[in-house]
């Protein structure tokens, strides 16, 4: 086998399979595109009214809120703050913003969950917490 990568034949190179897969995916994407264009009324249009309706939909807002909260939680992890505090804060925020229950139930469930997860993973299974 050649010692340097540039001496390798093309069929054994590290880009061979990635290239093949790229071609296959491109072919299938072209198939999807052709099929979409052949459908009656096909065309690349995005009516502004539809976009506004989608953005104003309460379900879209709930989705964005959950994704945003999840992102904020992940950003807060691994920055030196105690895991129990960041997890507890995430749970309280998520449950309160989604009107899950009364505030004291939310507080109780969040604190208990954060403490139990931390204890089980850190103390029982010796996994360092993020």
């Amino acid at each position: 086998m050649p010692r340097h990568l540039q001496d390798w034949p093309a069929y054994a190179g590290p880009g061979m399979v990635t290239g093949l897969l790229g071609v296959v995916l491109l072919g299938m994407a072209a198939g999807l595109g052709v099929r979409a264009l052949r459908r009656p009324g096909a065309g690349v249009t995005l009516p502004l009214a539809d976009a506004r309706r989608y953005l104003a939909d309460p379900r879209t807002r709930r989705l964005a809120l959950m994704a945003g909260l999840s992102l904020a939680y992940l950003v807060s992890l691994g920055r030196g703050w105690p895991y129990q505090v960041t997890t507890g804060a995430f749970l309280i925020a998520a449950m309160l913003l989604f009107n899950a229950a009364r505030w004291w139930v939310v507080l109780l469930v969040s604190v208990a969950t954060a403490a139990v997860i931390a204890a089980v993973f850190n103390r029982l299974f010796l996994v360092p917490l993020p």
Binding site: W8, Y11, V24
Partner: protein
């Protein structure tokens, strides 16, 4: 001396320690809860518990994961019967007859029947696992690079075809995208780093568990939190224990569904949901009372639940014999086995042949524990379904986070999970199945290494890919699967059949 499947009895005896039974019971209970709660799938349950069992002895870890698997698939029928929402995708067919039964005040008998048929299906799958894995393992010993390459392609094509029945092109795109994603990081022949964009963390590639937790767990959290309402639960439970006569009356359906479940399970990456639908469909076609299906047919419920549970044993057959998962939960199980130092594949049959029977014995324990848990305490299990989703889902997300993190203890995996969560959610919205992506991530390395190794061995000659006997079979089946979904090929086949048919005088 090998006793074959009878060795299961010896392995069962060895497993019957108080600690093992304790692990089997609690893991099955957790699996049942995971399966019961809509939004928590068997795949996700096993992925989360893989993180939890990380520091455990391998045999304890594997039995916990197997019990979670069986518990989740069985428990998923609870919400299907009571809420008309399948607890896991595998239980979707159980909704059709389970919920109408519970609406008629027969929730208890419906739960009892689904638990019994789940038990029978699981045991059927275990018997096939113990009998056929060594045979498949011996066949797999003849596999070389050419066959492994085609096996990977075959798995992706069949999985894409069956998990996206309305549009297989989307299934294939998902599968090939999964293969491409698996090639991120250092490759295994020359150690060359691909698609890392200068980030050191990317050199290790995407770990399976964060990808899985993202695609299944986080995507589900987003999908459930987007919705506002939760349907009412049928609170009347009634008698749970089924009558023996009732189960025995449908013995043909039971055997047929068991066979379907195992066969679908053996096909790479397809899984319990397809097994359940195919079993249900065949039961309806063969039934003396097809008009009752969808209106509370006990036979329909029995077929669906036997099929998806028999698929568990079937899905583990290729895991042990080929190191190729038969379903999405089996994919996580395979990842967990690797993590715990178990090396499934053809060599397992030579190095450690009794492992098949050990896994079979573990599954028998899981089936018994699941049957026991399913029949006792149904009334209070039902109460869990009443937990509001806005309380449940943020907790599930924190478990997703810790589950993705615990495997490698690196923050990068959390971002992988988040990215795959968003991708998984978008895929759901546009009807792209997640299972082919997971299978692609698992099989990518197999395809890459074996294609290049085969070409190096033949100096670039591709002829053996199409001339070796097992390769020819795999190529032929793959082409038939693709051709069967291309409209032009179907029309041509129909034309050919018409021409070959003798014309009446």
């Amino acid at each position: 001396m090998s006793l074959g499947p009878l060795q299961i009895l010896g392995e069962l005896w060895a497993l019957a320690t108080p600690l093992m039974l304790f692990h089997a019971l609690w893991a099955t209970f957790v699996g049942t809860m995971v399966g019961m709660l809509p939004g928590l799938t068997a795949t996700m349950g096993i992925a989360l518990l893989t993180g939890l069992t990380f520091g455990m002895e391998p045999r304890y870890a594997i039995i916990i994961l197997l019990c979670t698997y069986v518990g989740a698939i069985t428990g998923g029928s609870r919400s299907a019967v009571l809420l008309n929402i399948p607890g896991t995708p595998a239980n979707a067919a159980a909704c059709l007859d389970g919920f109408p039964l519970s609406q008629r005040g027969l929730a208890g008998p419906a739960i009892g029947l689904s638990a019994t048929s789940s038990f029978i299906g699981t045991v059927f799958g275990i018997l096939c696992l113990a009998s056929f894995t060594p045979l498949l393992g011996r066949l797999a010993l003849q596999f070389q690079s050419w066959e492994y390459f085609w096996l990977a392609v075959f798995g992706i094509v069949v999985c894409g075809n069956l998990t996206a029945p309305t549009d297989p092109l989307k299934g294939w795109i998902a599968g090939f995208a999964g293969l491409l994603l698996s090639l991120v990081g250092q490759e295994n022949i020359a150690g060359y780093a691909r698609f890392t964009f200068g980030f050191d963390e990317m050199r290790g590639g995407f770990s399976l568990i964060p990808v899985l937790v993202g695609l299944y767990g986080m995507a589900e959290v987003l999908a459930v939190m987007r919705e506002q309402t939760l349907p009412e639960i049928a609170r009347q439970v009634g008698r749970v224990l089924p009558r023996f006569r009732e189960v025995l009356a449908h013995w043909k359906t039971t055997i047929r569904s068991g066979l379907v479940g195992v066969t679908v399970g053996v096909i790479p990456g397809v899984g319990e949901d397809v097994a359940s639908w195919v079993s249900y469909d065949l039961a309806k076609r063969a039934s003396k009372h097809p008009e009752e299906f969808g209106k509370g047919s006990r036979e329909g419920l029995l077929a669906a639940e036997t099929g998806d549970n028999a698929c568990i044993g079937g899905a583990i057959i290729p895991v042990l014999a080929l190191a190729v998962p038969g379903s999405a939960p089996a994919a996580v199980l395979l990842g967990a086995m690797w993590l715990h130092g178990v090396r499934p594949g053809p060599l397992l049959m030579i190095e450690f042949p009794s492992y098949v029977y050990e896994v079979s014995a573990m599954l028998i324990l899981a089936a018994c524990a699941s049957f026991f848990i399913s029949l006792v305490g149904v009334r209070w299990q039902v109460k869990v379904l009443a937990i509001p989703r806005p309380i449940m889902m943020p907790i599930v997300f924190t478990l997703c986070v810790i589950g993705a993190y615990a495997i490698n203890v690196r923050i990068f995996d959390l971002w992988v999970m988040f990215a795959f969560g968003l991708v998984g959610y978008a895929m759901r919205c546009y009807n792209y199945p997640a299972a082919p992506v997971v299978l692609g991530v698992i099989l990518g390395d197999l395809l890459d290494v074996n294609l290049r190794r085969a070409l190096i061995r033949t100096d670039g000659d591709i002829t053996p890919f199409f001339t070796r006997p097992i390769s020819v079979v795999l190529v032929a089946v793959t082409l038939v699967v693709i051709a069967s979904r291309v409209p032009a090929c179907r029309r041509a086949a129909a034309r050919l059949v018409r021409q070959l048919r003798p014309t009446p005088p």
